[in-house]
Structures are given as structure tokens and as C-alpha cells.
Amino acid sequence: MYQYIVLAVDGSENAFRAAQEACKIAKLHEEALVDIVYVADFEKVKNEILHAGSTGALELMRRQKTMKIEQLCKEEQIRYKITILRGTPGPEIVKYVNAHNVDLLVIGSRGLNSLQEMVLGSVSHKVMKRVQCPVLMVK
């Protein structure tokens, strides 16, 4: 069964729906652990520093992205942990998932940046192609 589940989140509505599905699957296994992974994007650090003003405020901004999902996990009584990675979201998730013994990756189909997606294809699509474990993509 799926014991170690990585849930890639970016603070979007889709990521929350992905979290709901991850919880459903996690319930199938007593020992299941949901690893909520958020990637702090290198490209955005400059703007985040400018707008957050202090490291405390920045920490809060990051935590707000995972807060709703944490609450969901608590309500559903699912074991979870939070991992914050730094880099470019797609490759960073792939690297993390392939380096750990992950049973399932759950990811939302569409992130926050629709313009970039039109030009580049979505982060989730790129991740799908390159991870070595089963992926659940949530619409």
C-alpha cells in the first residue's frame, strides 16, 4: 500500500484539492505519512524579501501556504510533516522524490501561474515525466 506519500503544494486551490485526495489515500494505511512539500522558488525570493520586510514575516507568508492543508491533516488525523525546499519547483520536487523512498506523489494539475503554463507547460507535467514513482495528479 501507499505508506510514504509526498504531497507537492504551492498554496493554490488545486493543491488543496490534491491534499484532500492525499488524505483519502493515507487513510488506507495505518502507518501512512503525508510529507507536505513546498518549494520556495528562487525566482520569487527577491519579491518575497521586498514585500515581507523581515524574516519573521517571510516565515509567516510561507506557513500560510501550507496552513490550510496542515489543518486538514489534523482534522483527518493523518500523520504529516512539512518540508520546505529551495530552488526551482519542478526539478526540486523531482530530485526530492527520487532521492527518498516515496510510494506515491500527489500533485495538483495547475499551479498559480497560468501565463507561464501556456508558454512552458505546467510544472506538474514536467514532474510527471521525470519522477520514478507513481503520481496522482488532481484536477
Binding site: 528562487f42 519579491n47 514585500h51 520586510g53 523581515s54 524574516t55 529551495r86 526551482t88 508558454v119
Partner: protein
């Protein structure tokens, strides 16, 4: 914290490669900043070499790239125009001394208190000024110039989608310089605005009269450069701290920046500071240690010495295109949303900072005014005491100190009830005026024949109260 040796040799392969990438990306910017400042390209190339190498040894943030920058070039432009290079070099030396003093007296840490509204205003103003400096180069060159600027922009935005290893600005330069050279287009080149000498910088004293008159000319510029340079350097180091999840020594960085400018002035280079864009490129290319900064500077100098003859052939239009890209990257596009969502006072401070800089052409004045206005807003905000009344109990909310005592007294001017309870559990008495005004209010109410009870004073407030009343 890593040891100094680890900061140098902890990531040799990554640092060497990223240093080379940064050096390649640095050349077009260094040339463009020379043109903004109105100096010979060598002045900014020497500056970039000296500053990068010195900061590599003495800076506080490993992996950060420092060199000649647009912000500094903009500040020194009027000085250069009016007094010439020797005064600019003297100003650079003095800037270094001021920054070192900032570092020694730990003033650099105070930069933390600059509100983010001012910082956002600063980067926006910087982008606008840099863009305005490009306009004369865009117009008047004819159709060929427009096309070269446009093609440069297309290359720098499209190529990174497919090829990430080589910096796109460099590709634009190589391809377009080759096209311009072989087709004999009538284009202004770097060679038309300055000369490139293929030699290492050498030590000399700037030729200036050592008088008070000289000091009067260069001091205001030095102070402005010191502030602008430290502001950008400390912001860049925070960005790198966050990107790499490590800490850095801000005062050491200020001392390193100061020393770098101090020495650079004697070697014919203009003042510089940390570069946000290049530092981000460095970290993204795998650079983490001091070696990457050193490599960036050293390899830049090597390239100039080897390729000097080709550098003069670079069309100005390509540099202008690259600068437009830098401006777009520097501008904080989140500002428009910020103007809508941020508190009105913050949005106002941001706009004032931008407007002042664009109006005065001086980044330092904008920052100082921005900080000043936000300080006033801050005091105005916390000087308002909130008070809610429930069954003769007055709940005071907010700190009571010299700026807020007046609104406190006014609020208790007219009281109807015969017994009054003042509840301070959500307040704090900060100073003598707070204790004094509380006494005054109580006395006045008692004179009117009312019964007054003060409750909920926290421990520190009670201590201050007792201390002042013996």
C-alpha cells in the same frame, strides 16, 4: 557557520563554473553602467574586477557578487559630468571610508529599520532611472538601432527557454556583434563612446586639490553612494541568506564593501556594490562560496584582456536592449497589487520615494525622505490611543508615551459617570509623560468629585509609576 576555509573551498567545482557564468553575464552590464555614469568602459570594468576580488576576501556574504552597479552609476552621473574622473575616483575612496565606518560602528545593522515600502520604492525608482538613461540611446539611431534593440530583447527573453547554460545576454552580444561587423551596419559601438585598454589596473592617486572645497564637492556624493551601496548590498545579502538558507554577517559585509571601494578608487575604478541580479544568477548556477565571487572578477578581467579588440565592436543598441531587460527584472511588478492591498500610508511612502528619486535624480534623497515620512506615519499611528467604554470602565488600548498622551487626555476630558474605572491591561506606560498624564487625568476627575480607580497596570508600568512617584 562555515569556517573561512570552507567558505572558499567548500564548493570548488560549482563555484568555478558559476563564477565563469557570472563573468560572462557581467561584461555587458559593466559596459552599460559605464555609459550611464558617463565614464570610459575601463573605469567600470576595473571597478568590477577590483570590487569582486576584494569582496571575495573581505565580504560577509559568501557567494554574493559585487561589482560596478547601475544604482551607483546613476548617483555618480552628475558628479562625473560636472567635475570629471579624478573627482569621481576621490569620491569612490571617500565612499569606501564612510562604508567602513558604518561597518565598524555597526550602523549597517540599522538598515533593518528601513521599511519595505521604501525598499520597494527604491528598486522601482532604480528601474525607472535606468530605463530613462537608455532612452537617448534608443531614439536618434534610426531603424537599425530599433531592430537591434528589439532582436536583443527577443533573444534575452526567448533563448533561456531552451538553453540555460550560457547567459542569454552574452548570446545576444556575440550573435549581434558578429552580424553588425560582417554586414557593416552603421551602428554606434562601444568603441565610439570609449576605449578599452588591455592591461591590468594600476595604482595611482587621483589628481585633485586636497582642499575643503574639494571635500564640499565630493562629500555629499560619497554619503549618497555609501547609503545606496549599503542598501543594495544588504538587501542582496538578505536575498542570498534566504535562497541558501544560511546566515551572513551584515557589518562585515559593510566593512568589506567599504574596503573594496576604498582600494578600487586608487586603481581607477568607480564605486560599486552588490548586484541583486548577478548574485541570483550565481546561486542558481551553483555558486555558494567566496571562490565564485573571486572567479567572476578574475575571469572578467581575463576576458577583457583577451577579447578587448572585440568588445569595442559591440553595438550600443545591444547593450541598450540588455539594460531594458535589467530594468524590467529590477522593477517590482508586485507593486501594482501592493498599491491596492497595502495600508494607504505604506503605499503613499512607496510613491513618494519613487517620485522623489525621479524628480531629484538621486536615489539617496528618495530613500532618506521615504524613511523620514514613514517614521512620522509610524509615530502618528501609535500615538492614537483607542478607548472603549463599558459600564463606567474605560478600556485603554495601545502604548501610552509622549506622543500618545494628548489623545489619552482628550478622550477623558468629559466624563459623565460618577465612578470611573481606567483599565490599563491592554496598555503600557512607557515614559514620564505617560505617568504624568495619568496623574493629571486622575486628579482632574477627582476634582470634579468623581471616584477613580486605576487597574490592570502591568508590572513594568507599575514599577515606572512607583519609581517616578518615589
Amino acid at each position: 557557520m562555515q569556517t573561512y576555509q570552507q567558505q572558499w573551498f567548500g564548493n570548488i567545482r560549482g563555484d568555478i563554473l558559476s563564477g565563469i557564468v557570472v563573468a560572462l553575464a557581467l561584461i555587458p552590464e559593466a559596459l552599460a553602467f559605464a555609459i550611464i555614469a558617463g565614464v570610459d568602459p575601463m573605469v567600470s570594468l576595473y571597478a568590477s574586477f577590483c570590487i569582486a576580488v576584494i569582496v571575495a576576501f573581505f565580504g560577509g556574504r559568501p557567494g554574493m557578487i559585487s561589482a560596478a552597479t547601475g544604482a551607483m552609476a546613476l548617483v555618480m552621473m552628475p558628479l562625473m559630468k560636472e567635475y570629471g574622473l579624478d573627482y569621481l575616483l576621490a569620491t569612490t575612496i571617500l565612499t569606501g571610508i564612510i562604508q567602513m565606518l558604518f561597518g565598524v560602528f555597526k550602523i549597517a545593522k540599522l538598515m533593518r529599520f528601513i521599511p519595505n515600502a521604501v525598499m520597494i520604492g527604491f528598486v522601482n525608482a532604480l528601474a525607472i532611472l535606468m530605463f530613462m538613461a537608455q532612452i537617448p540611446h534608443i531614439f536618434g539611431g534610426g531603424m537599425t538601432t530599433y531592430i537591434f534593440v528589439a532582436v536583443t530583447l527577443i533573444i534575452v527573453y526567448l533563448v533561456p527557454r531552451f538553453l540555460k547554460a550560457i547567459p542569454a545576454p552574452l548570446i545576444a552580444i556575440v550573435v549581434l556583434t558578429a552580424i553588425a561587423m560582417f554586414n557593416g551596419f552603421e551602428l554606434k559601438t562601444v568603441g565610439d563612446v570609449g576605449t578599452i585598454s588591455k592591461s591590468l589596473p594600476s595604482f595611482f592617486f587621483p589628481q585633485i586639490p586636497l582642499t575643503f572645497e574639494t571635500l564640499r564637492i565630493i562629500l555629499p556624493y560619497s554619503v549618497a553612494l555609501a547609503i545606496v551601496g549599503l542598501l543594495e548590498s544588504l538587501m542582496t545579502s538578505s536575498i542570498l541568506d534566504e535562497m541558501t538558507d544560511t546566515k551572513s554577517d551584515k557589518n562585515k559585509e559593510a566593512r568589506g564593501q567599504g574596503l573594496a571601494n576604498f582600494i578600487t578608487g586608487f586603481f581607477g575604478g568607480m564605486a560599486g556594490c552588490a548586484m541583486i541580479g548577478q548574485s541570483v544568477i550565481n546561486v542558481k548556477s551553483g555558486g555558494r562560496g567566496r571562490l565564485s565571487t573571486f572567479m567572476a572578477g578574475a575571469f572578467l578581467m581575463f576576458l577583457i584582456i583577451v577579447l578587448g579588440d572585440l568588445v569595442v565592436q559591440i553595438p550600443m543598441a545591444v547593450l541598450v536592449g540588455i539594460m531594458v531587460m535589467v530594468c524590467i527584472g529590477t522593477f517590482d511588478w508586485g507593486s501594482f497589487k501592493y498599491l491596492m492591498t497595502a495600508p494607504k500610508a505604506d503605499a503613499f511612502v512607496m510613491l513618494v520615494t519613487v517620485a522623489t528619486v525621479v524628480w531629484t535624480n538621486n536615489l539617496a534623497i528618495g530613500v532618506i525622505l521615504g524613511v523620514f515620512i514613514s517614521a512620522i506615519f509610524f509615530v502618528a499611528k501609535i500615538s492614537k490611543i483607542k478607548m472603549s467604554i463599558k459600564e463606567n470602565v474605560y478600556y485603554i488600548e495601545g502604548p501610552l508615551f509622549f506622543a500618545s498622551t494628548e489623545s489619552f487626555q482628550n478622550a477623558l476630558e468629559h466624563v459623565e459617570a460618577s465612578t470611573v474605572v481606567l483599565d490599563f491591561s491592554n496598555s503600557h506606560l512607557w515614559d514620564e509623560s505617560a505617568v504624568g498624564s495619568l496623574l493629571k487625568v486622575v486628579t482632574k476627575l477627582e476634582e470634579q468629585g468623581k471616584e477613580v480607580e486605576v487597574r490592570g497596570l502591568n508590572t513594568l508600568s507599575t514599577k515606572l509609576y512607583k519609581q517616578l512617584l518615589g
